[in-house]
């Protein structure tokens, strides 16, 4: 498995090194997107509006969204692409089975995803002049968000396996991610309580608090976020496993 991780890591790294334009393109696109959102919000709020701390909160949420987006969409995009280019069946011929291989692939791709998010963060911090707090402990809530992101990714990959052309759906569902990542856990109403059961919400709330408000790590909330992330990852894997069986029954692994 360690060797498998190494070749998967090399594969994602080679892609990045050989096709840097894709990396630069992603940095530029996401930076412009944030600036448009940021300037758009200022325009709507009027010239006298002061964002203050809210810039940091907005930026923290945005960066978390980019990272979750990659973890969420890379699997379904990858599967669609492999079905199209004709390598999917060779991937399914692995004796490890497709799910362990794709889990390792997700983990191995994390390095390049973090590098991408780090670069976008650097560019936006320089442009906006905002200050974000990055402590090593921040990695813990981010990991819980990523677990949930991969879970949703497996669920979306199930659809990609069965219906192939799901890019539109992935595109639209990005906005659902924004909703989940910005969902407020504060308050005592049922809506706040519901947040603990929604995917990504507890980990995202904790990450936002730590990045934008320099809050200390709430270990209780981290535990809940971990349970939430693992539960959605397990659900995603179960859905994907069923989709693999359905695809093998209906002959959907080949052809696009």
């Amino acid at each position: 498995m360690l060797d498998l991780f190494w070749v998967e890591f090399k594969r994602s790294w080679l892609n990045l090194r050989r096709y840097p334009s894709e990396f630069v393109g992603a940095v530029v696109t996401f930076s412009i997107l944030f600036l448009l959102l940021f300037l758009g919000a200022r325009f709507l709020a009027g010239p006298s509006a002061e964002f203050g701390e809210r810039t940091e909160a907005l930026l923290a949420g945005f960066l978390l969204w980019t990272l979750t987006l990659f973890s969420y969409s890379s699997l379904s995009f990858g599967l669609s692409e492999e079905a199209q280019t004709g390598t999917l069946e060779q991937v399914f011929l692995t004796p490890y089975g497709p799910i362990p291989l794709l889990l390792v692939r997700n983990l191995a791709g994390l390095g390049t995803q973090l590098l991408l998010m780090g670069t976008i963060a650097l560019v936006l911090l320089l442009i906006t002049g905002a200050r974000l707090s990055f402590t090593p402990l921040l990695l813990l809530p981010i990991m819980t968000v990523l677990l949930g992101g991969y879970g949703l990714g497996f669920a979306m990959a199930s659809l990609a396996l069965l219906f192939k052309r799901v890019q539109q759906l992935v595109g639209i569902s990005q906005f659902l991610l924004i909703f989940l990542l910005q969902y407020p856990l504060e308050g005592s109403g049922w809506l706040a309580k519901l947040g603990y059961f929604l995917p990504l919400v507890p980990g995202a709330d904790l990450t936002r608090q730590m990045m934008a408000k320099e809050a200390t790590l709430d270990w209780g909330l981290l535990g809940l976020a971990l349970i939430n992330g693992l539960a959605y990852l397990a659900l995603g894997i179960v859905a994907f496993s069923r989709a693999v069986r359905a695809a093998k029954r209906r002959g959907l692994l080949f052809g696009y």
Partner: protein, 298 residues
């Protein structure tokens, strides 16, 4: 090594494969032939664990690939119409990647990849990205990927398609060599002369059913029937030919055909005496003729 029994597969109202049974022993090359849409690819995908059969069982080295993924450790496949390899990676990187993905350790995969590139005549292209390789080279690389983890069984779906003459002959020689090493090989191809040269056994599938199966030499012998070619130094004069027609001689000369048993042939040769003979030989048939007869009849 491979045992598939009673495979059935239906897609909606279309019965793609019906009651197909195949077996392969070490060192055997089985040519699995059939017209387009006959059920070859569907069968191969079921053998490779990529498609569940509705009924029937597959065993690779005694293991069912549909229940035990480690059965796939014994299988290498070149699948038709697929790239089989990553275009953004070099030839060497592809071999190492798929070697490890099939269960090899990294160091072993790296060493094996270099040997295979040498064997395939691709050593010079080791560090070339696949998208810059010719189609023939990509096809050879696909074969290399299938061989990386020393599988005992190979499924080769059109392995020589799109190759130039030299590359195709090289791949043919590799297949022969692999069979000599004891690998069991299931080969599908529309190039029937390739199948005839390589296969020790053949099976023809038509509309989802196996319509002919047997050892290649036996099948060819059976279809050749009791035909003999008789070549004379000079054509027979019309009156002599007319007399010999009654004994079964056909054709206008100097090459003639006799259709009948051995006894009749001796009677004919006796009657021909002392006309100078050039050659007497049993007529041979080729796989193309067999294929057309079987598929036409079916």
């Amino acid at each position: 090594m491979l045992e598939a029994t009673g495979l059935h597969k239906r897609f909606g109202t279309l019965v793609a494969v019906e009651g197909v049974s195949l077996h392969l022993a070490p060192g055997e090359v089985l040519a699995f032939l059939g017209p387009n849409g006959a059920g070859k690819t569907t069968t191969i995908k079921m053998l490779a664990g990529l498609l569940f059969p509705d009924r029937g069982r597959v065993h690779l080295m005694g293991k069912d690939p549909h229940r035990d993924p480690w059965a796939l450790r014994h299988l290498g496949a070149v699948l038709e119409g697929n790239r089989n390899v990553y275009w953004r990676m070099t030839a060497l990187e592809n071999l190492v990647y798929f070697g490890v993905a099939r269960g090899l350790r990294f160091a072993e995969a790296s060493q094996r990849a270099r040997n295979i590139l040498e064997q395939l005549g691709l050593a010079e292209k080791s560090h070339t990205e696949v998208r810059h390789l010719s189609r023939g080279m990509q096809q050879k690389l696909s074969l290399g990927v299938a061989l990386m983890h020393h599988p005992e069984l190979l499924l080769l779906d059109e392995p020589t398609l799109g190759l130039d003459v030299e590359s195709a002959l090289r791949v043919e020689e590799m297949v022969r060599e692999l069979a000599r090493e004891g690998k069991a090989i299931l080969l599908t191809t529309h190039q029937l002369e390739v199948a005839q040269r390589l296969a020790s056994r053949l099976a023809i599938i038509q509309r989802g059913k196996i319509v002919l199966e047997g050892r290649t030499t036996e099948v060819l012998g059976r279809f050749a029937g009791e035909h003999y070619l008789i070549e004379l130094e000079t054509p027979l004069p019309p009156e002599r030919l007319a007399a010999l027609r009654a004994l079964g001689l056909e054709g206008e000369g100097p090459s003639y055909v006799y259709q009948g048993d051995g006894e009749g042939l001796w009677r004919l040769l006796e009657a021909l005496k002392p006309w100078p003979l050039k050659k007497v030989a049993r007529a041979e048939t080729d796989l193309l003729e067999v294929f057309l007869k079987v598929v036409g009849r079916a």
